[in-house]
Symmetry: C2
Subunit: 144 residues, 2 copies
DNA sequence: CTTCAATTCTTGAATATTCAATATTTTCCA
DNA sequence: TGGAAAATATTGAATATTCAAGAATTGAAG
């Protein structure tokens, strides 16, 4: 039986929040070299497969809700990193595509992100990292 | 060497964000029965040791930055869940304390949170959970 | 002792996020 | 077919968060 008076630091929800915050902060720091928030990097990365992705699909993939995504995409369209195309098969949908400028930026961001992953591998260890990834994936699976 | 064209779903930062989002969503759902956001539960839990905690200390512990915490505490003071006392030893500081009403609420929230942890233990497994916690703690450690 | 830098917390303006409502298109079924 | 219900995206108002500046106190160095 779980103890209700356990300190907050023993709760899984808290540990996840803390780890997420820390890793995200580090990543943010790297990406700020290009002046891009983490969410925009995620968007570019998802779109960089060259296929069109609907807003709903994107929102799921990048962990943002619809209105927030719409407004972020507005900014990225202004910056000509991505562009909208009406889906010809279902005109309720908008398909998002990455622009050439977006691709160039995405490459730079990818290498900044890889820097970070390598930094984690060094200080945290190869084995721990892959084990942690495995456990996180399985936690996410078991939550659906 | 990490691959820069790896899908976003393979990045540790993304897996952490996804897991955190999901677990937090579940916890939020439970706590909403008492109409309390997760951050307020954390605050109450930290203060429930009965000691006075300064705002800076609290902000660290509950993963909020100072201005956000100040405004959240303002609301909680209005709800008479916590109260401020000027630190007699250092009058720059404010010490936060939990009220009796806060303690009662905290107990209810604790049991809702324990419900969730038990639900996770069931679907995810005892072993995986403790192993994941261990790895997260060590990741957090290695990031400081 | 006094003055200047550092610490702690709060405030106000700028920014971002969220909720609810809206517009459009598609799906379904009677 | 016709029309109601569902799906998709956006908008606008309400709310929350953040950044930069400010006020108060302490520490520390000359």
């Amino acid at each position: 039986m779980a103890k209700s008076n356990a300190p907050i630091t023993e709760h899984l929800a808290y540990l996840l929040a803390q780890a997420n915050r820390e890793i995200n902060r580090q990543l943010e720091l790297r990406l700020s070299k290009e002046g891009v928030p983490v969410e925009q990097w995620r968007i570019l990365k998802v779109l960089s497969d060259g296929n069109g992705h609907s807003m709903g699909e994107l929102a799921d993939a990048v962990l943002l809700n619809h209105p927030t995504l719409t407004k972020m995409i507005d900014r990225m369209v202004s910056d000509t990193l991505v562009y909208r195309v009406q889906d010809p098969n279902d005109r309720r949908k908008v398909l998002m595509f990455i622009s050439d400028r977006g691709k160039v930026l995405c490459k730079k961001l990818n290498s900044l992100a890889v820097d970070q992953e390598e930094h984690i591998l060094e200080s945290y260890g190869d084995k721990s990292t892959s084990e942690l990834k495995r456990l996180l994936e399985s936690l996410i699976d078991s939550s659906n």
